[in-house]
């Protein structure tokens, strides 16, 4: 769909400090690599993700995801369940205004999954690249 072959999406990643954040460190240890235009923001738990954070992120980025601990393995029991609910809410908000709900996502991983981290980031990046620039971007 993307007409512009040079399109480099901007991705904002909210990472639970018990899994996604550490997995990013692990990816560095393994000397893996992923696209540059990916920024991480640390959260104490994926349950801290706010629909508003997603929306604010999408006002300037092309896609945003939250990285949560594996299912049934949240340190705070229900954090990743709440995160899944908020991703669903955000998807609905995007759908309502005709923006692809795929621009927001939730991925489960563990702290020692550097490879998985890079795989998630790369796949999401590629998916957004395919989708093209976020039509709802407010700050361009």
């Amino acid at each position: 769909m993307s007409a512009n072959a040079d399109f480099q999406p901007k991705i904002i990643v909210f990472a639970c400090e018990n899994s996604g954040w550490l997995a990013a460190e692990h990816a560095a240890e393994l000397a893996l690599s992923y696209p540059e235009r990916v920024e991480l923001i640390k959260l104490p738990c994926s349950g801290k993700i706010d629909v508003l954070f997603f929306m604010k992120a999408l006002e300037k980025a092309d896609g945003t995801i939250v990285l949560a601990c594996q299912k049934e393995n949240c340190k705070f029991i229900k954090g990743n369940i709440r995160a899944a609910q908020r991703v669903k809410q955000t998807e609905n908000l995007l759908k309502e205004i005709g923006i692809e709900p795929e621009r927001v996502g939730l991925y489960y991983l563990a702290a020692n999954m550097g490879h998985k981290f890079v795989e998630i980031i790369q796949n999401f990046y590629d998916k957004i690249r395919e989708l093209g620039p976020n039509p709802g971007k407010v700050i361009k």
Binding site: M55, I97, I99, V138
Partner: protein, 226 residues
Amino acid sequence: MIIAERKPIEEILGLLSKHQKVLVLGCGGCVTVCLAGGEKEVGILSSQLTMARSKEERPLEIVQKTIERQCDFEYFEGIRHIVKDVDAILSLACGIGIQTCAEAFPDKIVWPGVNTKFLGVNLNVGEWAERCQACGQCVLDKTGGICPVARCSKSIFNGPCGGSQDGKCEVSPDTDCAWALIHDRLTRLGEVDSLREILPVKDWSYSRDGGPRKLVREDLELESGK
């Protein structure tokens, strides 16, 4: 508490289509409690609206504000200066708040951002149910504290009707039969015999029958005999 739900976004976008700058006004009362129009919802809706309009390449400027309650005129005084600069107000308060807002700002367009649903209770996070229809003459003393007006689909007074099955209403299997609930509760309290008394025809003149209602208590008025 008043339960409300945000209007579909297309509807809101339609209402705001001709404006360039609006105030999205939240209310810190019932609509915050029922997660429809508090500060957070104001933020989310504003973000959603800006994105939608930016997508259409017709940017919309939004001012966000949440006041204590929109059903009292005094609370609007603090936002007069903000209101001056906007084309219109999108009020996320209940129907009462939206009207009070419009009355407070007679020269401003005030759009409703939520649909006011009913007077109800919060059963769980994200789950509400109707409990009262403000009929003006409470009968809960005779019905074990369960309201047949609000909770019986037919609002009948000497129920249940023939549509009550296994404690559920024929209108929907998700709805409890109010009269089944009344019977069970009175049985539990050992008062089930009180149901033998036939309830008289309800005097609906206390309800909407007499037109819009107004309550005046002279003993409380600041200037008596006004």
